[in-house]
Symmetry: C2
Subunit: 110 residues, 2 copies
């Protein structure tokens, strides 16, 4: 698989915050609107808006306006891509490994 690390940094950064992790967890149950989400936290409305922006700009969350409300859902495709990416970089890969290893005789370092 081809991938650029930088392509995934915003999504991983989006997940690297306790509040946003909980929001993702909540959205896994299905669509929620901003004010419903807000009720579960002790943060200001502007702070929630900031977090929702980070989540939606990262691609992990879809945001659609419905009248006065914003309705949020998880972007499952994007989340699957991220999971695949993490699976990929944490598992052995013949080709890439050849270029990083095998440069030195065994067990010899610097």
């Amino acid at each position: 698989m081809k991938h650029s690390y930088a392509d995934y940094v915003p999504a991983i950064k989006a997940m690297s915050d306790e509040t946003r992790l909980k929001i993702i967890d909540m959205l896994s149950c299905g669509e929620m609107c901003a004010c419903e989400i807000l009720e579960e936290f002790s943060i200001s409305q502007s702070t929630l808006s900031y977090h929702m922006k980070i989540l939606s700009e990262s691609g992990l969350v879809n945001a659609v306006r419905d009248g006065a409300w914003m309705r949020y859902t998880l972007n499952k495709e994007r989340i699957d891509e991220l999971k695949d990416f993490i699976g990929c970089i944490t598992s052995d890969k013949e080709d890439l490994c050849k270029s990083w290893k095998n440069k030195k005789p065994n067990n010899q370092c610097c």
Copy 2:
């Protein structure tokens, strides 16, 4: 599964950096020492040491001293835990969802 969001924040933060993602990718090929890793980057030795500290304190990477060198490996167990956690918070869960949804009649928001 029981989990606390905060337990996973350091590991996700550790992954939210391009340099560290590449290091994880490199380590997926097997053990490497600091100076081998350093060769692949254009960063100072102290900066690499900082990144390796973040990775090892997050639990994603094992660090063992071998004489003058540090040998790094991926902590596959911890990585699997993280993958499980991400899988968990991004998939529907009967019990938790009940507490977040079903508070209001259908489709009614704030």
